[in-house]
Each structure stands twice: as C-alpha cells, then as structure tokens.
Symmetry: C2
Subunit: 316 residues, 2 copies
C-alpha cells in the first residue's frame, strides 16, 4: 500500500523539512530545464463556480513523478468550507507504482509558495531590513511572514489589509510568533515604511504605486492574466525584475501586466533559479529596487511532495 497522509500528518511531516533549501533545488532544476512539465489540465464548473487544475511532471534522473490536483470553489466559505482544496500523488518513475497520497488539502501549495517568497528574500532583499511589509491577511500572508523568520533578522512588521477585522484576526493568528506586528488600511504606508514587502492578494487593481530606493518586493498573488498587485511603474523603475518562470511570465503575473501596459519591454528577465545557481546576478547594492514576480512552478510541488514522502518513510 502507498503511504497515505491526511492534512495533519502532512503538516507534521513537513515541519521537519528545510523548505527554502527544497525551493532552491526546485528553481534551479526548473531554470536548468531538468523538469518535464506538460500543460496544466483544467476542469471548469459554472454552478457553483469552481475550477480544478491538474499539474504533473517530473525531474529527469529523479525517482518519482508528481501529480497535483488543486481546486478553487469560491462559494465554499459560505458553506463553512475552505475555497481551496487539493492533494498530491507521488509515483515511482521506474515502475509507475503509487508511493504516496498526500491529502494535504492545498496546504503544501500554500507552503511551497511561502517558501519561494523566503528564498526570494534570501537572494534579493537588502542586507539590512528595517521593517517587513505584508499586503494581505490570508493564509499566504501568514505563511510568508512565518517563513521569513529564518531568512531575515527583522522582527518589525507592518501589515496592510482591507478591513480592521481581518487585520486584527491576522495579528491574533501570529501572536505566537516573534514578530511585532502593526497594522494599516493604507498601502502607501507599506511603501513608505518597509524595505522588504510581500504582496499576497488576488487583486486586479494595484496596491502599490511606487516604492523607495532599497526596497525588495515579492509578489505572489497574481496567477492569471488579469490580476495585478503592483503598479507597472514600479517594475519600470526597478533595477532588477526576477521571475520564477520566463515562459509563464508571457501570460500572467506582474511582468505580463507591465508589458501589456507598455511599461516594460520584452527583453528577457532573469529567473530566480538562475540567480540561485549564480548564472544571473542578484541585488548588487542596498539602494536598488528589486521585484520578484512569482507565479508558481511545478518543480516546487515535486520538491515539497518528495520531501514529505522521504521524511515520513525514513521515520517509519
């Protein structure tokens, strides 16, 4: 029988994983074209509205392949259910045998996205961060901050959200952390006060119009052609814009929006995996503005699923 883990068991297993190191491997493999990742499968539903994505692939020379199912049903919260759900299947690349069923309900996707943000901060944030800025108050806003704990010595945080209620709720959820968290309804305050900013929302009108020199922004919310968290002027003014996937940046994300708005040309931008591998340069001084535009790549799923499988198997 394959290993079968429910959400809590996945959480327990992944707690011991060095997620940022896993994401380093994921992005390097992606940029080195070691991954075989076919087009995403999709099922769409109208009533109630929902979408299902099936992502699958493998790394050449690895022992496994991974199939991820992720769903979003946006009326679920009214029923007391989370909007997002999902699972990952890990199979043997040499026999097709099913090795693990990870019933993580989307947790691993949330976590690998947050770990990618921490990795971007490791390579792109200024040396000295005075204040971290978080835009959004959801699960991703929480996980991004938690994963930054190990990457950044700064413990001063300003969080911006749409309502006082969601901001207070966010602060309560992070009361167990070492961060000192203040809140604001004004995104301009984030731009004025923070030098490491993470945007985590499904916005289609930008939160931020400009930022100060010496700021790094990681944007993880935009995963369609319509969504946009950053004014395209920010990307135009940035010293360095980095994506996780150049090919995905042709159809979605902040870089896509900035090009569509005529504020960024089509010249290739470096990938995060190239900066990790040292084949592209990262931040070169503390006054630069840098932007990491992350839309998510399948190698992240492969690395995190394999890590959970290996930790659980080894613990047996």
């Amino acid at each position: 029988m394959p290993l079968i883990l429910n959400r809590q068991q996945v959480k327990d297993a992944v707690a011991g994983v060095d997620l940022v190191a896993a994401m380093e491997r994921a992005f390097v493999a992606y940029s080195a074209e070691q991954a075989v990742v076919p087009a995403v499968g999709e099922l769409l539903f109208a009533d109630p509205p929902g979408d299902v994505h099936i992502k699958y692939g493998y790394l050449r020379g690895d022992y496994c392949y991974v199939i991820k199912v992720a769903s979003g049903f946006y009326e679920n919260p009214a029923l007391g259910l989370p909007a997002s759900n999902g699972l990952m299947l890990l199979h043997s690349q040499s026999t097709g045998e099913l090795l693990a069923v990870l019933l993580d309900e989307g947790y691993l996707t949330d976590l690998r996205t947050a770990a990618a943000g921490a990795l971007a901060a490791r390579y792109l944030a200024p040396e000295c961060v005075a204040r971290i800025g978080i835009i959004g108050t959801g699960v991703q806003a929480e996980l991004q901050l938690r994963l930054l704990h190990r990457e950044c010595a700064c413990r001063q945080v300003l969080v911006c959200g749409r309502s006082e209620l969601s901001l207070q709720n966010y602060r309560q959820r992070l009361a167990d952390s070492a961060f000192s968290i203040e809140t604001t309804l004004d995104p301009a305050a984030i731009a004025q006060q923070c030098d490491l900013i993470v945007t985590t929302t499904p916005a289609s009108t930008p939160w931020l119009a400009s930022v100060r020199p010496g700021t790094h922004i990681t944007a993880v919310g935009s995963d369609t052609a319509d969504k946009q968290e950053l004014a395209s002027e920010i990307l135009a003014a940035a010293d360095l814009v980095v994506v996780d996937s150049r090919s995905q940046a042709l159809s979605r994300g902040e870089v896509f929006r900035a090009r569509a708005n005529g504020l960024l040309d089509d010249s290739p931008v470096p990938e995060l995996g190239e900066i990790v591998a040292g084949t592209s340069a990262g931040r070169s001084d503390d006054q630069q503005i840098t932007v990491a535009d992350l839309t998510g790549v399948a190698t992240q799923d492969i690395e995190i699923a394999r890590a959970v499988y290996e930790r659980t198997k080894d613990a047996d």
Copy 2:
C-alpha cells in the same frame, strides 16, 4: 476524510454493481454530449520505458468529477510487478472536496472495458450464439468472457492465443466458470466456428482476415494509431460498424485503420451510445456482420468510479 479503498476493497464493492447498466449510462451520456472531457494528460519515460495517462472529466448535472491515473511500465513483469497500474479520484462537483480514492491498480479500467464488450454484445450479437470466440488470453480476455455470462446464454467457447501455455493458463483461470472452453492456436478456427467474437490483444497485425455472415465482433485491443486486430476487409464487408467515440475513431482503432487502408470511407459511423439510446439502428437480422470498435471513453471511468463510491458509502 475521503473514502479510501485498496484493490481488494474496490473488487468487493464493484461485485455488487450492475456494470452493463452503468456502461449503458456511460455511452448514452457520451453520445448525448453530456460529458466534459478535456484532452488526456500524458507523461512519458524512456528508461525504463513507461507511459502515464491522466484522464479526467465529468457529466453535466452530476455531483462528481473523476480523475484517473493509468500507467504502463512494460519492464515491470520482469520485476514481478504488473505492467499496468492506476487509481481513480472522485471529487464533489459543487465543492471540490475529495470523496473517494480508489486504489484499484487499474482493475476498474479492465472491468469497464469488459463491461462495454458485454453491452456491445447485448445490442449487436445475433439472437442465437452457438459459440463464443475469444482472441487473447490475458486479463481482458478473461473479464470479457466472465461479463458475457449474463448477456448471452451460450456456454461454448473457443479461445485463441499465441502459445499452448497461455491457453492452458487461461482455461485454468476460468475453470470456476460455467463455460466449456476449447483452445486453438489458429485464429481462422475462431472465424469459422464462432458467431460472437471478442478480440482483446495489442496486435498490430490482424488476427482475423474474414468472418462468416451472422457474426458479431467486438474489438477492444486497439487503442493507438498503429494497433489493429481485424483485417480492414472485415469492416468493409460488415453490414454495421459501431464505435464508442466517433472523434476517437479519427485517430485510433479498427475504423481508423480501415480508413487509413482505403477500405472504409469517411461517412460517419453510429456510436454505441446512439444504438443504446435508440437514435441509431442496431443489428436488424441474424445474417448481418456487425463490428463494435471500442477504444474506451472517459464516461466509462466516471460511471464505474461513481458506482463503487455509492455502493461503499451506502454500505456504511
């Protein structure tokens, strides 16, 4: 937690399902275009050689969607493992929640293919069958015969295979059945003696060159552009050629091969679901030659997965 069944539990649950009725619904829904079935996802491996197919879809107005993973790793038998493997996932169409994980290892695919053969016999076999002919000695050859038991009163069977050993093995596996089984290495004997023939092999050169008037053949082995079990002359001479999917018949199966060989024109052939629904005519007299060319459709997977889920859930 979703329902999770291993292969044996799936076998136990499906034993109580009226599979041919489920396949009737499957083919009618398919032909009535009630199904949403995107293109099949595929992963290919070179060393060792293997392929993985991800099939997914749903029926409009149904409560579930189904994702099936099926793999073939052809060096597995040398390791003592079956070449084929697979699982099915059943999710809610209204919330995305995972309802069931059926770790059937490909058994449900084998079974639904056999049940489709029985359904084809119900609608297309001559009234009076003197002898059933089976070509092939594998799992599908076994299941096809077992599923014919309820559809056809005939208990006289002639089986044709590549070796005496595989034929004896086949006869032993079916020793518990009510069938009286004789064996032959000569496929022409099948054509001369049998009036209900099922071909179940991955052959790329035809087994049968011609058949007698009054014969029905169901061919289930050809699922690629290259495979062919029946000489195209048989389809050219047939009074009625039926497919499960006209669109799939454009790229694979016996009809595809007969058209490629210039022996069948491009005029549309009826679908099995249309014959079941009564919108196309089936066999009209006992002297006709009929051929059912089945390449397998996703609604079969949806119906059988849902049936297993419902029987198990109701038994709780």
